[in-house]
């Protein structure tokens, strides 16, 4: 009898586990946002977060975008050639970068770079009792550690996405003009004429959402880390996995919301 029920029990336990984690996360999310609106604020921590999350991510974002834009131009040119549609390279590069690849790739790079470092840093602080020490020094870790990172990501990741979009288009432009024989002025005009405001807004909104996901996942996994070095390792791994998957899922939902009609 018990062996018949064992798989059910396992499924039950797993479900409970997932639900418990989800519940903890939703609570964490609500608490994080509620602390945004309540002083005290820590401007110095915020400035450091702006620097590490935004400014120092620029090289990674720029390199990712330029190679992707260039590759996209090559692909569309050779794919388009099959039905004599080589001329659409500027338009497809623009729309592909701005609507989809810019935000998603920047989001994933931020998950790799920022989420992991936030999770490892906060988890280490947790296992070495630095979080406890903050509390005893009358400093709320949510306000001191989470809010600055969350706000910095919310502000800088859309900017990074915007910059990534532009650099990606520039990559496509370089390949198009250098290798594929496009006229420079016509390439730029086609790009500018084709893009709509909605494309750009969707790109930046995605950036904001992905930034929040990336920062929150790092903080959440860090704050809930188990003890010891293994705990820190697990927290870091879990945070990046969760951030990447949530970013891709959110991308699907947001794309549907912006472009399904």
């Amino acid at each position: 009898m018990s062996s018949v029920l064992a798989p059910l029990a396992l499924i039950g336990a797993l479900t409970m586990n997932v639900l418990a984690k989800l519940g903890r996360f939703v609570l964490f999310l609500l608490r994080s946002f509620s602390h945004i609106f309540r002083p005290p604020y820590y401007p110095k921590e915020f400035a450091i977060s702006l620097l590490t999350i935004g400014w120092l991510s620029l090289p990674v974002v720029g390199l990712t975008a330029i190679f992707t834009g260039g590759a996209l131009a090559l692909q569309i040119y050779s794919g388009g050639a099959r039905f004599n549609a080589e001329a659409v390279v500027p338009q497809i590069v623009a729309i592909g970068m701005v609507r989809e690849l810019g935000p998603v790739l920047v989001g994933l790079m931020i998950a790799a770079r920022v989420t992991s470092s936030i999770a490892a840093e906060i988890a280490t602080m947790k296992v070495t009792e630095q979080i406890d020490a903050l509390v005893t020094l009358s400093t709320n870790p949510m306000k001191y550690l989470v809010v600055p990172r969350l706000l910095a990501a919310l502000i800088t990741v859309p900017l990074l996405v915007g910059i990534g979009d532009i650099i990606g288009i520039a990559g496509g432009y370089a390949v198009g003009v250098q290798n594929l024989g496009f006229n420079p002025a016509a390439y730029l005009k086609n790009t500018a004429d084709f893009l709509e405001l909605r494309d750009i807004v969707s790109s930046l909104v995605k950036g904001g959402v992905f930034g929040v996901i990336a920062a929150l996942m790092g903080c959440f996994y860090g704050m809930h880390s188990d003890r010891g070095a293994q705990g820190v390792g697990r927290a870091t791994k879990g945070s990046v996995e969760a951030a990447a998957i949530l970013i891709l899922a959110a991308n699907f939902v947001l794309t549907g919301l912006f472009f399904s009609v």
Binding site: D132, A133, V135, T139
Partner: protein, 248 residues
């Protein structure tokens, strides 16, 4: 006055505190001794609300811990963590002056730095360590920086979790004197955890021995040597023979 009444705390299947009852009078120095892993650090964390007890009550001057204004409650405390728990991204002086650099006790930077250097001097550290990062210091120096941070804002109640562990005998003497001075001259209430019996004699007004989650013996330090309690006697003499098992 700090009062713990029948406090229980279990981690998973590990029953750590099993009805801890203890009173610490205002302005006195209580030293807690007991075997490794018996829950001494957990007991301090329960008072500060860093660990939530499963049951029992903890009051500080009649006010139940964890109720009311948490900031005001914590502002009365200083805590030295067993592992130091220094913020490794901040230089030493900013660790020490953490409370004076932000929040309600915020002071001008110059003044905060001066206070930090003065506190560092009191724990036997030179001003030159002020600008180093915690990772650049030895273990004993880190411990003393943690101590300086705990006393930096002149709290009324101070918890020291193994303040002299890892220090040389001379430095341990300096720290013992400092703790005694803080209690006698500044009227602070101190709770110290230590394994060092000479430290117990130097610091304590009262001693409590924690074993198997309860206080086995408590009393004035003068009565410690003729308590007649087999657990305490074994602990003081450090003998492997006795009611306390050597493997825990």
């Amino acid at each position: 006055m700090i009062r713990l009444d029948n406090v229980h705390k279990t981690f998973g299947s590990n029953r750590v505190l099993r009805g801890l009852t203890l009173e610490i009078e205002r302005g006195t120095s209580m030293v807690i001794i007991g075997g490794s892993g018996t829950g001494k650090s957990v007991a301090l964390k329960c008072i500060l609300g860093l660990v939530t007890p499963d049951s029992g009550t903890i009051t500080v001057d009649g006010q139940q811990a964890g109720t009311g204004d948490r900031d005001a409650f914590l502002a009365r405390f200083g805590m030295l963590f067993q592992g130091g728990a220094l913020f490794d991204s901040l230089p030493v002086w900013q660790n020490v002056s953490f409370r004076h650099l932000r929040g309600s006790l915020k002071k001008p930077k110059e003044q905060a730095r001066e206070i930090a250097i003065e506190k560092l001097r009191r724990v036997g550290l030179k001003a030159s360590v002020a600008d180093q990062l915690p990772a650049e210091l030895s273990g004993g120096m880190q411990k003393r920086v943690g101590l300086a941070r705990a006393i930096a804002a002149d709290p009324e109640i101070i918890f020291f979790d193994e303040p002299t562990t890892g220090l040389d005998p001379i430095m341990a003497g300096v720290i013992n004197d400092l703790i005694r001075e803080i209690v006698v001259e500044m009227g602070a209430t101190a709770m110290t955890i230590t394994h060092d019996m000479s430290s117990v004699r130097a610091i304590a007004d009262n001693v409590a021995m924690l074993h198997e989650g309860v206080i086995k013996w408590t009393g004035p330090v003068a009565q410690m040597d003729n308590s007649g309690d087999p657990y305490l006697e074994q602990f003081i003499t450090g003998s492997a023979e006795g009611p306390i098992e050597a493997i825990r």
